[in-house]
Amino acid sequence: MERRKVTTPKQFFLKERNEGYNNWTLSFWRELFQNSVDAGARNIDIRIETTKPRGSFDQWAPDMPEVVRVVFADDGRGMSKEVLENVYFTVGATTKGDGNSIGGFGRARLMTCFANVRYSILTTDQFVIGDGAEWVSYGLDDAVTELGHSIGRLQAEWAEGARRAEEGLRADLDLVTAAREAGGLKGCRVEVDLDPKSGDYSSNHPSEQRMLDQLKTYLSESQLSPKVTINGQSPEEFFKISDGSRLQARRGPVRDTLAAEVDGVMTDFATVHTSEGAKAAHKGKLIVRVDGASMYVKNVKIDKQVIVEVDQKMSRQVLTANRDGFKDQFDTALQGLLSKLVVDPNSALKDKKHERVTVIGEKGSIKAKRPSFEDISRAKMSEAEVIYTRQTERPARVVPANKSQLADFGLPLESIESFIRDFRYGESFVNEKMWDYDFPHSQAFSSFREAFYDVKWGEEVSVFFEKLPEDARGWVLDILKGRYQQELARVAEAHVKRDVIADMNDIVIHVENTNPVVRAAMRRNDPRNWDIASGKGRQPRALLVAWTEACSVAVETLMKVRPSVKDFVWTTGWCYDTPKYTDQGDRTREHVTEALHLSEGDKHSFLVNPVTEDGRLAYSPSDADDRQSLQALAMHEVAHVVASWHDETYANILTDIMKSYDFKEANRRMRDAVKAVYAAYDKGRARVQGMDSEPGPRPADRLLAAAAPAAYRHDVLDEAITRYDDGTRVVDCDAVGRLELEQSPTFSRDEDYQVRYA
């Protein structure tokens, strides 16, 4: 029995071309360019014209008025005979599995070649003529012979169609002969005739103008490495772009990376770039590209051009077969970016590639501990609690009747949940009292426990309020509230006990943008350059401790208003940025990053921008208004521990923190911390400023000489004086005392120092 293969009419390819792509006339260019980029081409020459049709093989020209002929030639690797036969003309096969090419599933050639009027391919030592699913290939020698025969056969015909077919074959013969004489063609030349009346809808018929428009669009979205010419001209000349700009979308700085789980490991697969200047021609668009070649474009609601560059090695894994979408988990990552762009474009597109250093402090990071609800519900009853239990009269208060009244009572819901869980497993402080004959609520709690048998997990809190009588409920809530307040005080004490001057915590320095003045300030504010002995870093260090205290109170508040937040470690530091124009709600205006939250795992950094654009310290921690600004920034950044983006969740958390933030306590702690820094720096130190330019020894120097005559005579006083660029000098009074003692013959160091300098 004869076995037959499925035959594929050209209509199938046409349908595939018209319906398989969102916009096939644009995809047509994308596929041709991608093939060339993959083949390592350095030059791409495109010819496009509307002309009379010619025939395929040695057939007469078809009966149609005109075709749009596209010739796409590159100087890349080209295709061998084996690749042509086993891959190019085998639908579903691809060579692009080596990780160095963009790669689809071999569907593109259905659109670029098979669906069209006719096509020919000249590559390396092969010449192919095709029409739909039919094709024939020759080596160059055979091609010359065969083309000669075909021309001979057509010469006998006088019809117009035969003439045009013969002309076409002669042109092919010239090309093939030239390639044969050159020892083969370097690269690949694809010639396709498009029917300008075919297409999915009338506006997408491949007329010459339509194809040129799409070519221009494609080039404007891409940043291709090969040099491109169109009908012998550069794209800019051809499309008459006279303002000196290039027809390409240059990618801006990296703002983010996209990552997805690949084989169980989170892997970066794309970088996100933005541009917003005048040359960003695609503002409001997100362009997905591979190696600079545009894949597809989405609209986004921000006034920036966003480019997502997919890692070429992963492109086959990431992109769908038609390369106009992302697959599975990669699409989830992209959707995440799109959501962020809509909800919070400014934060989503902050520069994520930057300098960052962490100056390791002796004390490392700070631990933010939440109140331990397990301790609250499990600790044995104290003597005071036992006495309170025996009392028959309770203080006047409103006993919460449902969970929404808990907040007013001063207890977080988590404390009740924790208590019920422990009670259920026999581990709460109530369980141990259940069998005491003098425990007045035994019966009530027994009934409460029995009620659990009929309820589902998650409904226990409702049962607590419904089944427990008010007397018993009020008693247990009173004890829980007392314990919770003690726990809060314990956690706060742990924070306050930090010694802010004896040593430092880790300090993170994060640089987004700078100018020369800010860079100079960065050196002054770098904790590695601080030195109490020489007085360096007094002001920035004071600012840092004030900022740290503002954050500390915000962290404590967060743990109070969101008690389920897991313990985390945190530290503070600097971020540097210079103003740029961004959308600020009412209009675009100059905006600078004032503070920043960074996180890695459970470690959080709260950074403040310490300087203004002119390099001066932006805040004076002695100033009440500045302290208030620091507190506001601290609350803002600490809220990011729970919610990364400025969405509704974030807004709720920030509001809760602001409602509970203890400004008085924050002010007190900030002032105390600053005083501690100043006291450490200023101990035994005096700063001198001359108020005029009179010549001769300064009055203050003469006073110093009178106070330490021996040191003055021996010319060593300068050792105790540090001179600054602003003309002031700092005298280390303690050092002056030591020098005087060392230089004076009348006093011995050990015995008389106390007498002389007491």
Binding site: D682, R685, A686, G690, M691, D692, E694, R698, P699, D726
Partner: protein, 87 residues
């Protein structure tokens, strides 16, 4: 006449050291912008402006003293009324 200002923030003293025998000071004042003036029987006299670093130190000062030098010796030293608008 030469005038120096000496700020010792730890102990909170701001001292004017000068060698003008004709200068009598009853009040020392530092304005918000760091402008320093002295007041005495002869009226008010502005003696200069503080640098930023000095201004920071002066913020912590709450007492003032005037020391008059005569050559290498201290001719007089007395506390004066202090108006510190930056403190």
């Amino acid at each position: 006449m030469a005038v120096d200002l000496v700020a010792n923030p730890t102990v909170g003293w701001l001292t004017v050291v000068h060698d003008d025998s004709g200068l009598e000071v009853s009040t020392l004042a530092v304005g918000v912008g760091g402008l320093v003036s002295v007041e005495g029987p002869a009226g008010t006299k502005v003696i200069g402006k503080l640098t930023d670093a000095m201004l920071d130190d002066v913020k912590s000062c709450h007492r003032a003293m005037v020391v008059r030098m005569h050559g290498e010796r201290v001719a007089s030293a007395e506390t004066v009324h202090f108006i510190n608008d930056v403190g």
